[in-house]
Amino acid sequence: MQDQFYTTADVIAAQIKGDEGFLARFSGESSDFVRFNRSAVRQAGMVEQRYLTLELFRGKCHAAQTLSLTGEQDLDADVVKAAVATLRDILNDTAEDPHFLINTTPQSTTRVMPSALGTPEESVDAVLKAGAGHDMVGFYAAGPIHSGFANSLGQRNWDTVKAFNIDLSFYLRADKAVKMGHAGTTWNAAAFAHKAGLAKERLAALARPAKTIQPDGYRVYLAPAAMEDILSMMSWGGFGLADHRTATTPLIKMVEQGVKLNSAVTISENMRDGLSPGFQNQGFVKPDNVTLIENGAYKDCLVSPRSAAEFDEAPNGADDSESPVALDMAAGTLAHEDILKTLGTGIYVGNLWYLNYSDRNAARLTGMTRFATFWVENGEIVAPVNVMRFDDSIYRMLGDNLVALTAERDLLLSTDTYEARSTRSMRLPGAIIDDMRMTL
């Protein structure tokens, strides 16, 4: 798709006139999607999509149109030419945008990540084999994801990652299940089978009679997958410059009152890891690292070009949403084998679910436990726990009540497929937290 996009960019370049300029963004994928239920196929198929967003500008006047493309050069050229004409008409009737800022120092890049995906037959066979004799439900997604950028200054950027993402749950009964994820760029059937085997082994602990806990404060261990939900909520407006300057960030007490998290908490946008492309919509190349929270104190924001112009700051490669795409939380010192012993008596939370703010000003979150969550006594798993609601603040959970972060971290590749397959990721430790408030 790279050649097609660059040819399309040349078509656009040939259309612009006088002092016009353009930005062109491409996203495309060829994805195999297989959905499973009851260890059988529920829906299977493929999606091939190509989208171009063309932004035409003249001075600080600009307008954009997103188009689906066929990949047939002649057909797409006609569509693109029509779009240039439409946008040119709009510019004639558009006021200057004081917040329009683009990269004017061309930085062309190309990244095609090495990969070795299995055939759809191999992967689907492996998943069905893992589910045989069990109640397995889940999803397989695989194939290339492409991103591109071009502008009228001659900048060209391209990124291709061919990845797979298998997201499965093995059910024992009702809502008692173990969830597993297996994702990457190189398919290894033995590695998948090993991981699935470990997940199925954990089902044995779910067979014990479930414990219903009463609302109270509990010592908990949040596995990295559960921490992903907490950090996702922090990422919803917590790290963007616009949210800080308009006082709508959930971390407002850190920004305006200097409230700090536990000194063990360091969070950054780390573009060296993960799958997301290293450039953004206005052509800026992302830096390797932006430290957001350092030793518990708020440090830097993610700054999009638009926010940079509005609030008179320098942009730092952030997307328009100013939300992390490769979030990294620093490891602690707790060894994996010491997790249950350090937890002592409390709740081992494998996954959280459906979080939201119960008080955004106070960074107070609510959500549910889900999947493999266990009651632990004296460092031993005793029983699965029936789903429980928590309602507690980030300042407490990642502040004074944070006991330890694990030394081992998981790289969690997003399973999101809304509109397109996500390339977001998080690298996170697990956390032991005291007195986490369970409410219902």
């Binding site: 198929g45 066929t70 047939e72």
Partner: protein, 479 residues
């Protein structure tokens, strides 16, 4: 201009040999206009055109979706769908149900009272900027925005059985928001926080009161800054329609989805506390509770004549007089569960397959005016405009937060309070429904982003509801 019907005909000429095929062609043209903190955002247009081919072969089902609508692209999509059908043959979770032998021909375009382009884009910006100025009515307003989106959606479904179904409609989603902040506290009021969505054209904006709402939205954000925190306790709860819609959505709509009950969603959106044996006898709510699947409400977000499987959509009671009647399940789910359902197999776009979705899921009105409902509350609170929603994966234990609330004492509205929240359990909450607003109090709302499915799909759904009173609800505030 190439039309979806032309593409469907083009596919029919190159369709693969198989037991059955369908092609769903969608073209969505959209416009987004916004003014943020007094500055007009760039005009954003989109034109999204693609096809979803579905093939049945040898008992297997496969799909292939592509934005390549050229003849070669359609041929490749047909071949890919056939290959996936062959791969899945003998491995499907259930046999494919037989197709109806009746062929359908339906060709309909909704005509709004006022076309979207009856007012120029420049004039729309003038009005949005005027709204923006009304929102920024005080130095304490730290963030403010107003926006409009319009989508012209044209879809055609053609099958190897000879069906032709074309449906075209406009969808309007307006938004207003004002955040007031002082001394490290921020309070936000919105115009329905995304819950205002209608089919139609420019007429929608007058019907929902969009152009006149800005001063109230800003004033109420400022009012909340000075308000005390919501108290904690068990009390009567009077919910406004712009909170009721999501209460219905999360704790009735999702648990009644038949694919969840059958387990399809257990890896992602979750399962359901509802089981198949409950239909026909389970007391879901008090006798006041009447829930309909109603695809025929003019202007509601998910009104349609046929679903994306080609099943004719008709109004059905899902809960009648408090008793559970029917699930939200389309043709395939109905066959798997051996039960009746509704026409709700829907896809959010050409690039996603149809699954069981809510559509228009409505709470039928009662007989009380809003004033009657207030006067019946001795100790309670009324909450409006959803801001926070969370529910377990079986759709039972929930917690919701609202933007604004007022205390009610001895049948009278009292002071405004901030950060109102409540929590409960679906299976008992609806049985405590004790008051229901009349037809005049109903608001037609919905959401454009109901998330579900693997691959994920965010789809629009409609919910009309009156205000409603619930007894003995646990209410609490922030902090």
């Amino acid at each position: 201009m190439t039309l979806p019907a032309d593409i469907a005909a083009r596919f029919a000429a190159v369709a693969p040999a198989c037991d059955f095929w369908s092609v769903r062609v969608m073209r969505s043209r959209a416009e987004y206009l916004a003014v943020t903190r007094g500055v007009a955002e760039p005009v954003a247009l989109s034109d999204d055109f693609g096809v979803m081919v579905t093939v049945h072969a040898g008992g297997g089902l496969g799909y292939a979706a592509t934005s390549d609508i050229s003849a070669a692209g359609l041929t490749r999509a047909g071949r890919a769908a056939l290959e996936w059908a062959q791969r899945s043959a003998g491995r499907m979770v259930a046999p494919l149900p037989p197709r109806s032998t009746n062929t359908i021909h339906h060709d309909h375009e909704d005509r709004p009272r006022i076309a979207w382009d009856a007012v120029s884009r420049a004039e729309k910006f003038v009005r949005l900027k005027a709204q923006s100025e009304e929102l920024k009515r005080d130095d304490r307003i730290a963030d403010w925005s107003t926006d409009l989106s319009f989508t012209d959606e044209d879809s055609v479904l053609v099958t190897s059985s000879g069906d032709f179904i074309r449906q075209r409609r406009g969808i309007v989603v307006p938004g207003l928001s004002a955040s007031a902040s002082v001394d490290g506290e921020t309070q936000t009021r919105t115009f329905g926080r995304g819950g205002v969505i209608r089919q139609g054209g420019l007429d929608v904006l007058d019907d929902v009161g969009f152009w006149t709402a800005a001063p109230r939205v800003a004033d109420e954000a400022l009012e909340l800054l000075a308000a005390p925190n919501c108290p904690t306790g068990e009390m009567d709860l009077l919910l406004a329609p712009d909170q009721m819609y999501i209460q219905i959505h999360e704790s009735i709509g999702h648990p009644l989805e038949l694919d969840r009950i059958l387990g399809d969603e257990r890896n992602y959106a979750g399962t359901s506390f509802v089981t198949l044996d409950m239909f026909g006898s389970y007391q879901y709510g008090s006798p006041l509770l009447n829930i309909t699947f109603d695809p025929g409400v003019v202007g509601e977000a998910a009104s349609y004549a046929f679903d994306d499987d080609g099943t004719r959509a008709e109004r059905q009671f899902l809960i009648r007089d408090g008793i559970l009647q029917k699930p939200l399940g389309g043709a395939f789910s109905q066959a798997r569960a051996n039960t009746s359902g509704v026409a709700n197999a829907r896809a959010c776009n050409w690039n996603r397959p149809a699954i069981d979705r809510m559509a228009n899921l409505n709470l039928e009105p009662g007989s009380a005016s809003f004033e009657d409902l207030v006067s019946g509350v001795e100790n309670g609170i009324t909450m409006e405009t959803n801001v926070s929603w969370s529910i377990d994966d079986s759709r039972n234990k929930f917690q919701f937060g609202c933007e604004r609330a007022r205390l009610i004492k001895n049948g009278k509205l009292g002071p405004v309070v901030k950060n109102p929240n409540y929590r409960g359990i679906s299976a008992t909450f609806w049985r405590n429904l004790k008051g229901l607003g009349n037809a005049a109090s109903v608001q037609v709302l919905g959401t454009p982003t109901c998330g579900k499915g693997e691959p994920n799909q965010a789809i629009r759904v409609g919910h009309s509801a009156p205000p409603a009173v619930f007894a003995d609800v646990h209410v609490f505030g922030g902090g």
